[in-house]
Amino acid sequence: MSIEVTNIIKSFNEQPVLKDISLRVDTGELVALLGPSGCGKTTLLRVIAGLELPDSGRIMLHDEDVAKVQAGKRKVGFVFQHYALFRHMTVFENVAFGLRVRRGASRLAKGAIRQKVTKLLQLIQMENLADRYPHQLSGGQRQRVALVRALAVEPKILLLDEPFGSLDARVRQELRTWLRKLHDEIHLTGIFVTHDQEEALEVADRVVVMDQGKIEQVGTPQEVFHNPASEFVMTFLGNVNLFHGRVEDGKITLGQAGSATDTQIITRLFVRPHDFEVSRTPAADNFQAAILRINAAGPNVRLELKSRFNEEFAADISHELARSLNLNAGDTVYVKPRNVRVFPPNHKAD
């Protein structure tokens, strides 16, 4: 079941939230909507689910226009950020709800409902907690109940709003892996909203980066991470250092002292912390920097540096290299950026 939205526009109180959004998600794909809070990602999800009506634009689910289809009839599973479990029902009744409210031919017999719900609870290893109430569960357990409650009605599409947003780091990591595995097993078309770039890059087949009601970039995790289309994507995905410099005849000069001549363009240069070569010897293609702090707790050693152009930046190097260079705070080193990114001025982030 594919999802296709075209030219979606939506505002709240004359405040534009979605500015002409078009996106296609293919059958079986798991896509992340990634962006800072207030970028419109949750609104887009709710528009697809039918919880909000767009001001204009078209929503197609499996090549069928659903403009006039009510939320409940779109066969969309939705997991709310704060789970929205029915507080007065047990875990079992929560999961069974979607089956119990069915009317007519699709209605299941009581025994069939019991069997199905038990199977779903086994899937999340919570069959022994079936009689608990939501307030007796941990955050991770609630999240999983919310997920299988949505799956119980066998939706073709699963939409998750910040699925791991309010969980602690370890449970997050567990559920992330679990969601990815589950998706690979049952092959739903899924969209999840997140503001956590790590989560998006790790779980999703494709990532949609959004900012201020617009889509900045759509691509595989590798594409958006290694080939960001704009300054916003570059800065939002992972740590990044900003340098100021000048471009002239295809050559970049660091530093911004003095004013640019006519043939020079002042520009902003982006380098990820792991894209530096650090050495003790000066060369033509490196520049001098002073070490402000060294943080060796982690998979890499992080150097906080100050360049001779007075710009502070961070560089990640391996523990081996740090040991062989025998670095101390206050030392002078020479750094060479391996991978410098410059974005055209019209893509400049606000």
């Binding site: 009510q70 409940g72 939705f78 929205a84 029915f86 007065h88 409210v101 949505a150």
Partner: protein, 298 residues
């Protein structure tokens, strides 16, 4: 309702008592004489203004023995007043429950123009004197009122008849249900309802299986207050009733009439029923507060 953890400092568990703790403990606990004096004043006040009058009602009612008491209640006019009060409650309270739920649902779960005006209007019956409320309905439905001629043409009697009493009671007791529900529904939000709709439930199923269970205790609580007020209403009903003996006198009106006729046993017998009902109401209210943790936690 909620027990105050007042100045509770567990000195035994704290290894060392820092001076600030000791000062706080001293400041929070008045000396024994002051405590006794305060408690005494409170008890004296309660006894004088609540307990004693209540006791007097029952003493006066039973002054001439149980037989006279029962005879007083079986008096035709008093008995018809009891029936009328029960009828008014049976009609007004359910209608107010429906309106109250609808109004609370509108206010708590929807945004619309004029919402603040509606919220204010719901409180109007609390601020308007019941007598004025009664007069409003005379002006509206009375013989010379706006709708009077229209009603007369169709031979419908509203004022000085049972419908007028029901309407006046509904007006005065309208806020109770809505006021209990609005804050609770606002806290609960509408995500559960949205989840139910997305799982395929229709509007009625969502209301019956999700909304109603979530507001159940607040609703019962509101209904109890509403019923108590409907039974005890005097001012508005007095204006619209017309005091037709055996026909349009509710219990409160009957008590007044009997009292004015120096029929003290009759007056206090009827009053004792009203008081007993008030006590039962308090009891039920307390039981609900004890056994409905989710409601008290609101």
């Amino acid at each position: 309702m909620v027990q105050q953890a007042y100045g509770e400092i567990k000195l035994e568990q704290a290894g060392t008592i820092r001076p600030t703790h000791r000062q706080a403990a001293v400041r929070n606990t008045e000396s024994a004489p002051v405590r006794w004096a305060l408690t005494g004043i409170a008890l004296l006040f309660l006894g004088l203004f609540l307990f004693l009058p209540l006791l007097l009602v029952f003493i006066e009612a039973f002054r001439n023995g149980i037989a006279t008491y029962i005879a007083a209640l079986r008096n035709d006019e008093t008995f018809s007043a009891i029936c009328l009060t029960l009828l008014v409650v049976a009609v007004a309270v359910p209608i107010n429950a429906v309106f109250g739920i609808a109004a609370a649902w509108l206010i708590a779960k929807h945004d619309f123009r004029g919402k603040s005006i509606l919220t204010t209007l719901i409180d109007l019956p609390f601020t308007v004197s019941p007598v004025i409320a009664g007069l409003l309905f005379i002006l509206l439905f009375g013989a010379n009122g706006w709708l009077g001629p229209w009603l007369a043409e169709r031979d419908l009697k509203v004022v000085f008849a049972v419908p007028g009493i029901v309407i006046a009671t509904m007006f005065v007791t309208f806020p109770f249900v809505a006021r209990e529900l609005v804050p609770l529904m606002q806290v609960q939000g509408d995500e559960e309802e949205q989840a139910a709709l997305l799982l395929g439930a229709n509007g009625w199923q969502t209301f019956r299986r999700i909304t109603l269970p979530n507001i159940k205790w607040a609703l019962v609580y509101g209904l109890i207050l509403c019923t108590a007020r409907a039974v005890g209403e005097f001012g508005a009903v007095s204006v619209v009733s017309g005091h037709i003996r055996g026909q349009t006198n509710t219990m409160t009106l009957q008590v007044e009439i009997l009292f004015n006729e120096y029929n003290f046993v009759g007056a206090f017998a009827a009053a004792s029923l009203l008081s007993a009902f008030a006590l039962v109401t308090l009891l039920v209210k307390n039981i609900i507060e004890r056994f409905s943790p989710e409601f008290v936690k609101k």
